[in-house]
């Protein structure tokens, strides 16, 4: 029973809620940005890159902590450098994966070094890896708002050509879409989003916001609009839901966020399997009548 109370404790909930207004706003924004950018992460097959970027973002943030400068700036620097490196060196999937595999432990190692040298509060260290949303203060929220506005604006601007380039790069290039430039722009936006997420859920758990929501949505529909809406919904439910559940406890929010996000994925996967079965049966007979109409 006592463990249960440590995990879920809703005493004085109303009072707590007013204290974490900032965090809930932050969660909402992060859910929206994460949901949107995850659809492209999935289309471009970049989940591993997200993980790699988040480890370098962690290195940047812990370096900033050690030097006593703005942690958000440190985190942004690390993740943008990583994102651009991965984008520039890894246009082919094999190259990309090996580059990420090389970069990621280096980033983690640097981060560990910086944190061991850091003499400040232990909670700050742990937070960079596993999340600290309850501690979102007003200047941090301002950073978060600014970064999200930039990411959202950027994504909306490149939405159609980026979708085209992400689903069929060769064809998009033949149609005059600037595939390479879009790839660089996307890596930049991804770097920004990852740095934001590291602030909130921690470097180890970024994938639950930037990957899982779209991975779940793609299981239940192939309509691009519905995928986007569901992915945003799943992102918001995971992050805000995680914050609300974690309020009374003194456990970081990340286990709540990752568990909700994982549960949504499991449900979508089960629904998707049910959906896929009748479709695959329908393929064979559906071909026959249309064939005759064209040849005839």
């Amino acid at each position: 029973m006592s463990v249960w109370h440590q995990i879920f404790n809703f005493a004085d909930y109303g009072q707590l809620l007013s204290l974490v207004r900032n965090s809930i706003i932050a969660g909402l924004i992060l859910g929206i940005v994460g949901g949107l950018i995850s659809t492209f992460v999935m289309m471009r097959d970049l989940p591993f890159a997200v993980h790699g970027i988040s480890e370098l973002s962690f290195a940047g943030a812990s370096g900033a902590l050690l030097l006593g400068v703005n942690v958000v700036v440190g985190s942004l620097t690390g993740s943008i450098l990583a994102a651009l490196t991965i984008g520039a060196l890894g246009s082919r999937a094999r190259d990309r994966n090996s580059i990420i595999g090389v970069l990621m432990p280096f980033g983690l190692g640097l981060g560990v070094l910086f944190l061991s040298l850091y003499k400040g509060r232990a909670a700050n260290k742990f937070g960079l890896l596993t999340g600290q949303i309850v501690a979102v203060d007003t200047p941090q929220l301002a950073w978060l708002l600014g970064t999200s506005a930039l990411v959202l604006l950027g994504l909306l601007l490149v939405w159609r050509p980026l979708t085209f380039a992400s689903t069929d790069a060769e064809l998009a290039a033949a149609r005059g879409v600037p595939v390479k430039a879009l790839s660089t722009i996307f890596m930049l936006l991804l770097g920004l989003s990852v740095a934001m997420s590291v602030q909130i859920v921690g470097a180890l758990l970024v994938l639950s916001i930037i990957c899982t929501p779209a991975a779940a949505a793609m299981r239940v529909t192939a309509s691009p609009h519905v995928v986007t809406l569901l992915s945003v919904l799943f992102g918001v439910v995971s992050v805000v839901g995680g914050i609300l559940l974690s309020l009374g406890s003194n456990i970081p929010i990340s286990p709540y966020v990752t568990t909700i996000s994982f549960a949504i994925y499991l449900v979508c996967r089960a629904l998707g399997n049910r959906r896929a079965r009748p479709v695959s049966h329908a393929v064979a007979p559906a071909v026959a009548p249309t064939r005759s109409t064209v040849t005839g």
Binding site: T39, F164, L171, A172, R175, A222, A286, T290
Partner: protein, 271 residues
């Protein structure tokens, strides 16, 4: 006759010391079906890249509907090779067709009835209405090619470029795909440049053939190009062309052409 859709004048292309082709003069009229044949590495794909504006000619000029070739020209529709699409790709057949209309534009776009009707009319033209809402990753190869043709045609191009669109399709899908392309050039006078290494599936429709081999080329009707004398001269080795039951078989193509590492190509073969 109206102005040509594609004009290449004195075109040449080389990579380093290796000349793919030179002194190429080629004119394609509206409604004409040109098949481009040749071994791998003979410059078929590079020719497409030149027409798409992705590759500059070493010398000479290339014009599409009277204007110099440029990237993203609306006058050119492009049908790529069939390749596997991931089953989870979040696009339905109708979305893939829509990309041909505005996939290259900035912004998120607004849904409109006119856009939807246009997409549905194209899906109907290629006989793909039945699976308009099915995920593209779950379509068969032949179904995917129909949808890709609709995507290429939705911008009303004057020239349709097909890059080995029959590769890895079963014979039935090969014939329905070529029939669709042929139907379009008859109804809309769209010129067709069709790169293939299999002449037989397109034989009933071909007006002229461009055959690339070993740094040179021949242009002409099927009979003028696909005969033993012409191909032997192109490859500088005895090549035998056999016609049998409306099909063309070529025997004796050299193992490698020019540089090592190029797979030879049967122009035809079975199937």
């Amino acid at each position: 006759m109206s102005a040509p859709v594609l004009e290449i004048h004195d075109g040449s292309l080389s990579f380093g010391a290796r000349t793919l082709w030179s002194d190429l003069d080629l004119t394609v009229q509206p409604g004409e079906f040109l098949a481009v044949l040749g071994a791998n590495g003979s410059g078929k794909t590079s020719l497409l890249r030149v027409i798409l504006g992705q590759q500059r000619l070493g010398s000479g000029t290339v014009k599409i509907a009277g204007h110099p070739a440029r990237r993203g020209s609306r006058d050119v529709g492009y049908v790529p090779q069939q390749r596997r699409i991931d089953a989870l790709t979040p696009l339905r057949a109708r979305d893939l067709v829509g990309q041909g209309l505005d996939g290259h534009r900035w912004g998120i776009g607004r849904p409109s009835g006119a856009r939807r009707r246009r997409i549905e009319s194209l899906l109907d033209q290629v006989g793909a209405s039945d699976y308009a809402n099915r995920p593209v990753g779950l379509l068969s190869g032949g179904e995917q090619q129909r949808v890709r043709i609709a995507q290429a045609l939705i911008g009303d191009p004057r020239l349709l470029l097909c890059d080995e669109p029959l590769l890895s399709l079963d014979p039935h899908s090969q014939s329905t795909t070529t029939a669709l392309v042929d139907q379009r050039r008859r109804t809309a006078d769209t010129a067709v440049v069709f790169v293939t290494h299999e002449i037989n599936p397109v034989l009933p429709y071909v007006d002229r053939v461009l055959y690339l081999a070993g740094g040179t080329f021949r242009v002409g009707s099927v009979d003028e190009v696909l005969n033993s004398a012409t191909l032997s001269a192109l490859y500088q080795t005895p090549v035998e062309v056999i016609r049998s039951g409306g099909r063309i078989l070529v025997a004796g193509l050299p193992e490698t052409i020019g540089q090592p590492g190029h797979e030879p190509h049967h122009v035809l073969g079975a199937s």
